[in-house]
Symmetry: C2
DNA sequence: GCCTTAAGGTACGCAGCCGTATCTAATGTT
DNA sequence: AACATTAGATACGGCTGCGTACCTTAAGGC
């Protein structure tokens, strides 16, 4: 296949990272090889080696490119319960949920680098930004649904942790009934939402 | 290395499964190869192939052998809070905690077989047996610490889920402060333990 | 239009692991 | 003591991916 046009610089790099992402999604980290990625990108291994000397570098670049692009959408229904359930639903759908399950596949990478999913997450998150559930609570307080008292981060972000745990355990995005269970049985009672129970 | 005695049958099988376990612990599932295991057991690949045609079979046999042997110990302090914290502490220590983190490494296996950690867990658990936290609650009710009301399984087993989530995220057993946080900030308030808050 | 840069292609040797075949010799059984 | 079994050793061809070296040719800067 002799293409007339030859890609260069950023254009080529983008194409490679897209191909790498596709390979990662389809074949997991075990199949994330220079060989497969180069083939998928329609280029050759030396081109990849010139840019990323280590597989780990390539992985990081790949993830970094595809992470920020797809934040979880925050619903605004005017009601804390519906906001929370909707938020979990969004978290499971789309690329965000895939990202989480992909994290599980990266166990081998974490092992090799001595890092963890938590580290990767820290590395990718915008520092200082409020989490989804923190913002949901802010709004609920503004609406007067809840008193403005301090709450431990562990409690605030509990639903997301449980949701992620569920994804780790089952390797698929949990259904709505799980989200509802988490919110109704655990979270709302815990933060003392007046209409709970 | 020509050994005088030649192992056979169950003795050999045990030795192989022990070697397989060691390899699994040290090199994770990616390094879990017939080659490495045979070498470690001081035997040859054909011997393994005669018993387990598939790598997955060998993995299951290996895990099955080393799972039941080490249940998490249930403390009995006479106090629900101390019981719960102690139980989480035990869950993180020893082979049980390792098992959980090993589960993370098996992502590739789950992918290949279309199963999940949850499936594996189901497969290994004694059916019908009450979970650790269910038993802790039973005893607390007997002591009169708590009313005998039904509680959703999700709430009852919440601490373990959060603890496991923590292990998944950080790839190491959480410290006591995490266990205490989970019990004090989340669980005890949720089940209405009188001395909480 | 010349010249530097880098993409694209090919090839090399190396390593690890696969699955199987074959032979031997130790072991436990009868 | 003869025998069936099977562990253990070795070897085979094959495959995939590694990392590098090399050459060519297209692209972009000047």
């Amino acid at each position: 296949m002799t293409l007339k046009s030859r890609r260069r610089g950023p254009e080529l790099e983008d194409a490679i990272l897209d191909a790498a992402w596709a390979v990662l999604i389809e074949h997991s980290y075990a199949g994330f090889t220079y060989e497969a990625i180069a083939a998928r990108a329609g280029t050759s291994r030396p081109v990849l080696y010139r840019r990323w000397a280590q597989r780990e570098d390539l992985l990081l670049a790949t993830i970094r490119k595809h992470w920020a692009a797809h934040p979880v959408e925050l619903p605004d229904t005017g009601n804390l319960r519906d906001d929370a359930i909707g938020f979990l639903r969004n978290a499971g759908a789309g690329r965000s949920g895939m990202m989480t399950m992909l994290g599980m596949q990266l166990a081998e990478y974490f092992r090799a680098t001595g890092t963890s999913f938590s580290d990767l997450r820290q590395h990718l998150l915008t520092p200082g930004q409020r989490t989804g559930f923190e913002r949901l609570l802010d709004r609920a307080v503004q609406r007067g649904e809840l008193p403005d008292v301090p709450r431990p981060p562990r409690v605030v972000n509990l639903p997301f942790d449980l949701f992620r745990h569920e994804m780790f355990m089952t390797m698929r995005p949990p259904g709505d009934e799980i989200a509802i269970e988490i919110i109704d049985q655990v979270w709302l009672p815990l933060i003392g939402w007046p209409q709970a129970r």
